[in-house]
Symmetry: C2
Subunit: 196 residues, 2 copies
């Protein structure tokens, strides 16, 4: 594990997804690891932190999530653009050597029995909150984030710092096909006093 | 209605949200309009296009959505950074003149009885797909996008064109407080042949 990987306070974990990055979804069951890309992932709650992710019925990763009840969500970087597209296009069902072909490097965090992708900027270990109707009708999965980590070069003190990090660490945001945007310029609006 | 506003093919409507922008949620019931900001909105399906959005129980907009069964989702721009923060901070419950105070300009599309926010880059008219358990337990609302429009200066032919539009039209991506990122540089990965 890289020394720059630091734990993220669970109260701040939703911020890893607030800005809407494309993510990688990883899972493990019965000796099999898999990873896919997902543009449709979103924060759902702060405390305890939760997220939603859409997992199509055709994907092997979904099957592993349903079987194991846990999954990983990680935020890939500009340096992983091609890897992300490959992980989102190839299916382990029809390309059994998908992981080898993409060259994805997996690792484990202690005490979490699921694979994570090396080189990402943030990682979340999630426990599936089973909602059979959502999963069946909408392919919509809800997870509680039970642990989170980030690369301290780009996320620290509960905040992203893309503006001060190397450009290769920026998050990527999928549009269609091989077309993405990197996250851009930091913007600050004067704080507004809440009305209650 | 501005002449640069064009209809978006429903088959491409999910692309308006793929890159994870912060959105504005608008609704109307019994003579009352309201608008709030939401960082937690996400595409859910392509055909028919659907989306999810998290609406806290404290918000007036949520009440209007539940009462009317319809709502608008729109993508605000860098030029609307301060407006977006205001719409996300003030509550119409405790600030009855919220809309006047923020200066938000509302308009209607023909045949859709809900307000939309002038100056955004894209607009979606949504029909609530009631899911009482999601709404009660998770504050999670599912909508079917029944019509969509975009500002042709920044979205046309089913694609965002932030890289060729004026910077003030970029989408904004909330982190926390008054802190946002604008969407950044376009990135293209070589297409990967699908394995099935």
């Amino acid at each position: 594990m890289d020394p720059q990987i630091i734990p993220v306070d669970l109260a701040k974990a939703a911020r890893l997804l607030n800005h809407g990055p494309t993510v990688l979804v990883s899972a493990h069951h019965a000796g099999m690891d898999n990873v896919m890309a997902a543009a449709w992932a979103c924060a759902l709650d702060f405390t305890p932190p939760k997220l939603t992710v859409v997992l199509d019925k055709s994907t092997m990763t979904r099957e592993l999530v349903e079987q194991s009840g846990v999954f990983g969500i990680q935020v890939p970087t500009v340096a992983q653009l091609q890897l992300t597209l490959q992980l989102g296009t190839l299916s382990r069902r029809t390309t059994p050597d998908k992981l080898e072909r993409t060259g994805v490097e997996l690792f484990r965090f202690p005490e979490h029995d699921m694979p994570f992708v090396n080189g990402c900027s943030a990682w979340m270990a999630c426990k599936l909150l089973p909602e059979p109707r959502n999963q069946q009708v909408y392919d919509l999965f809800i997870g509680e984030i039970v642990a989170a980590w980030a690369d301290s070069r780009v996320f620290s003190n509960g905040r992203w710092h893309f503006e001060n990090a190397e450009p290769a660490l920026r998050s990527i945001h999928h549009v269609a096909g091989g077309h993405f945007y990197a996250i851009g310029e930091a913007m600050n609006a004067p704080t507004v006093k809440s009305s209650g």
